[in-house]
């Protein structure tokens, strides 16, 4: 089946929905999602969305700007960060007017709490900047945006999985997707196409990300010659539930929780004397892993405790009900009585499809634009987060840059004619599917995936080094071979999730390879990328963005300078 839209949006999380609300003012909009819109992983965001409203204590967008630059270890592009922080207050007010049920102060204003790395007076002390809806902030915003889109004229295509982004030279023509329910391939012709497909935490064994977070569109774009920026920077959130990786929000520490090691010490006092447990996530994750490596895990084992027993029970009930329920359901622990066993969990990709501040995708390190192709949200790299994202800046990023991409697309569609996807693009996708269905190989997708995820976790997570990364890259090439040898049992058309899982695994492995290669070439430690063999940040050689390209010779690299405007790189101490 063939469709024609002015704007096509792949992904129905916060970035996609916010863009849709904007683009629909100028033309027709289709939103594809492989789930249902309300199932998007944005809905799992817990703790908050950052804006210097100053509702609870004095704050300023400039402090927010500084914190974000420093939190990102000076790799973030400061023009983008300034746009995000300056636009934050307007963004939150707009969301509130759309119906988001933010938690409130006694005077009825939007309540705010402390979050990691957010400070007043350029690092003097933590500040209350995260606006929240208990610990379900993403859910609250996702529903409000979806509900508002629902009575605009946005056309939703739930359970449509993108299989290809179609290019004609340097112009994007739209995308091909499978209607999961029937197996039919649909061609979506669009003047402008936005990739807003979220993250790819499923590259790693232990992750807070949804099973659907497989980075399909990054894999597709990379195959089409679009570079991927800063892929070595993957954030591990310090507090995942031990053994499961389920997120326990930083808001738990924002409300007074603290991390405790096996000796009963509040160890963050040693690593970040000023803001302690509210240091940025990369620093806390390294601190936890260091404590464990040096034998100070709980009972000498591989986890530490997040202790929120000192937090008032009323606050737990009102502001952290969801994580309290998670602890009870999955760990059998009442966190008001007992500490929570936690371990870092793969959480957020700073890297992604390079874009300018209006979502236009760059085809190379010079910033030349791919016509008609846009990206926003976690799949994109603007780069507002640099080498390490601060908590509550990702929701902000999705809404700020989703809106900007929506506006840019609304303008762009007036300047170009209808696109027409050719038959051979559809045939190529069908051939790929046939190849998987007809494969008589010996491998099972589930086993290959589990081994791949474990390998990535072992060799390329919180700490990295040349030996591990070299081994990893060698082993990953065998995974590409194994991928071709996977066969599936389900040969049908309707709801063939076994087939789709093989396709997703292909993207995961491709992204794993880019992450590993990007990590190997960056010979310094910065933000979430910690090299044991190069433990220092090296601004002289590495104050630049990595651009990974797919070539016949494998992954190759080029570089783009960091935009430094207001804040010169300085020592990163907290």
């Amino acid at each position: 089946m063939t469709h024609y839209f002015d704007t096509l949006i792949i992904g129905s999380g916060l970035a996609g929905l916010r863009a849709a609300g904007e683009a629909v003012k100028k033309g027709s909009v289709a939103v594809l999602t492989k789930l249902y819109p309300t199932r998007s992983h944005s809905g799992a965001a817990q703790g908050g969305i950052g804006a210097a409203l100053g509702n609870e204590e004095p704050d300023s967008p400039e402090w927010h700007f500084y914190d974000t630059v420093k939190g990102g270890d000076f790799l973030g592009d400061q023009d983008a960060i300034e746009v995000m922080c300056e636009d934050a207050i307007r963004t939150i007010v707009e969301l509130e007017h759309l119906g988001v049920p933010f938690s409130r102060t006694p005077e009825g204003k939007i309540a705010q709490r402390r979050f990691g790395g957010h400070t007043r007076d350029f690092g003097a002390a933590p500040v209350r900047r995260a606006c929240y809806s208990a610990d379900r902030t993403g859910h609250a915003i996702l529903y409000a945006l979806y509900e508002q889109c629902g009575h605009e004229r946005v056309d939703f295509f739930p359970e449509f999985q993108a299989l290809d982004i179609v290019m004609d030279g340097n112009r994007c023509l739209g995308a091909l997707a499978v209607n999961i329910r029937t197996g039919e391939i649909h061609a979506f012709n669009a003047k402008a196409t936005l990739v807003a497909s979220g993250g790819y935490g499923r590259v790693f064994k232990t992750t807070s990300n949804a099973i659907a977070s497989t980075g399909d569109c990054l894999g597709i774009a990379f195959n089409k010659g679009v570079p991927l920026e800063d892929m070595e920077f993957f954030q591990f959130h310090p507090t995942g539930l031990y053994g499961l990786g389920i997120l326990i929000t930083e808001g738990a520490r924002g409300e007074g929780g603290m991390l405790i090691n096996g000796k009963g010490e509040r160890f963050m006092e040693r690593y970040a004397p000023t803001i302690k447990d509210l240091a940025p996530r990369d620093m806390i994750s390294r601190a936890i892993m260091t404590e464990i490596r040096e034998g100070r895990g709980i009972g000498g084992r591989d986890y530490v405790h997040l202790d929120i027993t000192g937090v008032d029970k009323k606050i737990l009930n009102e502001r952290l009900p969801e994580i309290s329920a998670f602890c009870k359901i999955y760990m059998g622990i009442d966190p008001s009585e007992k500490p929570i066993p936690v371990l870092p969990t793969a959480h957020y990709a700073m890297g992604g499809i390079p874009t300018d501040i209006d979502g236009r995708v760059s085809r190379d390190e010079t910033g030349e634009v791919v016509k008609g192709l846009y990206a926003a949200g976690e799949c994109a790299c603007v780069s507002a987060h640099g080498a390490n994202r601060l908590g509550c800046n990702s929701l902000l990023d999705t809404v700020v840059f989703g809106r900007r991409a929506g506006m840019a697309m609304g303008e762009f569609i007036g300047s170009v004619g209808k696109s027409e996807i050719k038959r051979d693009a559809v045939d190529a996708v069908k051939e790929n599917i046939e190849a998987v269905i007809n494969s008589k190989g010996k491998e099972k997708a589930g086993e290959v995936r589990a081994e791949f995820q474990k390998l990535m976790m072992d060799k390329c997570s919180v700490f990295r080094n040349e030996k591990d990364l070299t081994t990893l890259i060698q082993e990953l090439s065998s995974f590409k071979e194994r991928l071709k040898d996977i066969s599936i049992k389900d040969k049908g058309s309707a709801f063939n999730t076994e087939l789709l899982e093989v396709i997703e695994l292909g993207h995961l492995i491709a992204l794993g390879e880019v992450i590993a290669a990007s990590a190997l070439q960056r010979k310094e430690s910065r933000g979430a990328h910690a090299r044991e063999d190069y433990p220092k940040r090296d601004d002289e050689n590495w104050l630049k963005h990595t651009f990974a390209f797919k070539t016949d010779r494998g992954v190759e690299f080029k570089y783009k300078p960091v935009v430094v405007t207001r804040f010169k790189p300085e020592d990163r101490k907290y």
Partner: protein, 240 residues
């Protein structure tokens, strides 16, 4: 690791004329989720087993199924909380089956739209946020936690009997906006639910409350709407 038998009701529209049962014997940890069992089967025994899933921790609402006779989220049902022996898994009742445990959830989402599920306020917005006291917000706190999983509707005898009934989650959604101090569309919204296939089809059976994975007291929310409708003389019994 303990051995469990998952007895799953299966249906492949391209092969089966009617549903069939299949038993899978798998090793599970005490702390595993029922969803982990599905994934183990799909990964190691039968890749064609079809189910929805995404977040795996009770926030996205994808994996609602019937577990030992009761609707619930597979990702939020822990093995240690299930009686030993066979675990019987079926697709959500009252929804047409597409394949194995996947049901057609589209009509359910469609009914939600009848409740005009979006904030309506055409007054000029203030420069900053619209004020809402914590007491005002308290009224909608439970209702905003709904994840649209469908457990409630699938367990409701009224929903089974009346294909046009809006169902508990749509009514809860109406409540969420009617009771929001910022909303200005009380009349239209009340009119959209105070109708025979709406508010008055709820007979306070409480099945929805029993199965709601977010522990929302849906029936008492609906009861408040009924009281409001009576107060506004919107009984709707005698309207078409």
């Amino acid at each position: 690791m303990e051995q469990y038998i998952l007895k799953i009701k299966r249906f492949d529209p391209e092969k089966d004329r009617k549903p069939r049962w299949e038993k899978f014997r798998i090793e599970m940890e005490f702390t595993d989720r029922v969803l982990d069992g599905f994934i183990k089967i799909k990964d190691a025994i039968d890749g064609s087993l079809t189910f929805r899933r995404s977040c795996a921790h009770g926030i996205c609402g994808s994996c609602a199924v019937k577990i030992n006779g009761k609707s619930g989220l597979a990702c939020q049902t822990i093995i240690k909380d299930v009686p030993p022996g066979e675990i019987v898994i079926e697709p959500l009742p009252a929804f047409p089956v597409i394949k194995d445990l996947v049901v057609d959830i589209e009509p359910f989402f469609g009914k939600n739209r009848e409740a005009m599920p979006y904030l309506i306020n055409n007054e000029p917005p203030p420069e900053l946020e619209r004020l809402q006291s914590p007491e005002e917000q308290e009224k909608i706190l439970q209702s905003i936690t709904c994840i649209m999983c469908g457990c409630c509707a699938s367990s409701c005898p009224s929903y089974w009997a009346d294909k046009e009934y809006m169902g508990p989650s749509a009514l809860l959604k109406a409540y969420r906006f009617i009771m929001d101090s910022r909303d200005r569309a009380l009349e239209e919204r009340m009119n959209s639910i105070a109708k025979p296939h709406g508010l008055w089809r709820c007979h306070s059976i409480y099945n929805c409350v029993e199965v709601c994975p977010k522990e929302i007291d849906i029936t008492s929310h609906i009861a408040k709407l009924k009281r409001l409708a009576v107060k506004k003389k919107l009984s709707g019994f005698f309207k078409g």
